[in-house]
Symmetry: C2
Amino acid sequence: MDRRMASGEDDLIARYFRPLATDPGAFGLVDDAALLNHTGDDLVVTTDAIVEGVHFLPDDPPDTIARKALRVNLSDLAAKGAVPAGFVLTLALRDAKEQWLAPFARALGEDAAAFGCPVLGGDTVSTPGPLMISITAFGRVPPGRMVRRTGAKPGDRIAVTGTIGDAALGLRVLKGQAGEGLDTPSREFLIQRYRVPQPRNALAVAIREHASAAMDVSDGLAGDLAKLCAASGISAAINLADVPLSEQARALVTKGSSSIESIVSGGDDYEVVCTVPENRWDSFLAAARLANVQVTGIGRVETGPAAPRFLDTAGKPVTLKRLSYSHF
Amino acid sequence: MDRRMASGEDDLIARYFRPLATDPGAFGLVDDAALLNHTGDDLVVTTDAIVEGVHFLPDDPPDTIARKALRVNLSDLAAKGAVPAGFVLTLALRDAKEQWLAPFARALGEDAAAFGCPVLGGDTVSTPGPLMISITAFGRVPPGRMVRRTGAKPGDRIAVTGTIGDAALGLRVLKGQAGEGLDTPSREFLIQRYRVPQPRNALAVAIREHASAAMDVSDGLAGDLAKLCAASGISAAINLADVPLSEQARALVTKGSSSIESIVSGGDDYEVVCTVPENRWDSFLAAARLANVQVTGIGRVETGPAAPRFLDTAGKPVTLKRLSYSHF
């Protein structure tokens, strides 16, 4: 955390972030750089930023913002089969308020410890604009073993972790666009799914051992799967009825407040979609059970290069109005 | 570059950034993550962000913004004795304009090639606020050989690369606060020193071989040296008359438009300050000559823990009004 770091900034870093920098490679945040020791592993590098008003709401609590900033990156590491090794963050702040920074740093430290992903360094800058947190996270894999988006083969099973659509519905609840008639715990559940993703790092080794391709679902299952298909040069058939929904999301679909089509293009899921060869499927499911991560088969890889098809219960293709979220 | 990456953003990345992603670890920017192969080296990690209106001016040319964003990070790698290995960037944009993105990406690619620091990945997000570029850069050093801020010993020589103060003067010229009476080439020289730092990566191996401590000078020589002293638990005596100035900066000091005191606390130099044991000094100078990097001795390390002293030509301490720039 070296840049623009004189008195005020030094104090801020010393007070809120130095206590988190327990990894020897962080050098207590008093050097220009951090160190990732040579261990013989390859290093997987991912970077994701979240922006106030775009990826989180201005009145989201600081602790959930911290967790989301780190977890969207942890989710990428999980999908790549990597074990977290640490992260650096850039924090662009309008001001440095104790009441915001203290719970932000505390939650960041808690998640760093819980996921074994220590803070290694960062940069704190002032901005007249929206709050932004950019994190670059590192994970280790044995040489050559990073799970790519390529590698899916016709006949492979397609699986997703957890449940799909909760976060996008939670955002709609927060915006007052959905959730009428839902009880308070259900509304809170969906909002929490939006604010605090549950990255599937517990499944990383199982993905590395069994998946032929994987990625995290962040912009909508439909669009992300289309990217995986394109990268692997294959297509896919997804049974919409098999897409795993929480009971809260199911209730909104049943009431007609949402649709399965909008759920699979919603975004912010931070689940993993992966393809698993048939002969690895049972082992993968067994490993997922051991890891205590819900995994659901939702379809099959087909020969490409057509875009993936989404089928209704009668096996008829459903046309999706949009596949995912775009910034531009 | 996986997050929020649907049509518009996909196109943007494919068009402007994929051509730069020539390193195999970048996977053509079509995966969730990049890969830094295991080579037996330690990885040095540094992250620095630049914000419109804070680190660069809104009407700075896009090509110089790109170069500055990368070079402020390269400068950290140089100071740590590391050889560049690649970088990831987060680009927060209000919009995606061809006329801005094309020269930005072209210059970024040119610098990436010139410094041997390939783009490995990144994230592109929309923001309603100021443009921001956050880069995390990686460098390799043999195990255990990163040059720290600690390690300076009493009696060590203190050296800086290049010339000090040009960038801060260039910013003042851009703001119309200095430069009256300077000819156009001199004004342009100073402005260019502000907009496009010259990181001293050519000196990285010499620093690693000979320096006992080093850091890059980004917030002002005085303040940064104070940090190095604090980290090493030592003090220092700097002869202000020995601080290397360009002829353009010298002219402004001679005219009374600037002072050596403001020059050593100006910031944005992106030079390296390092300490070198006396018995390594001649070898260090020889290595610097071979690397074609100007190096100047400006003082000596003393026993600590007092703050470094800045001495005038009579050897009397000069009091500096401020040591460096702070965001908060």
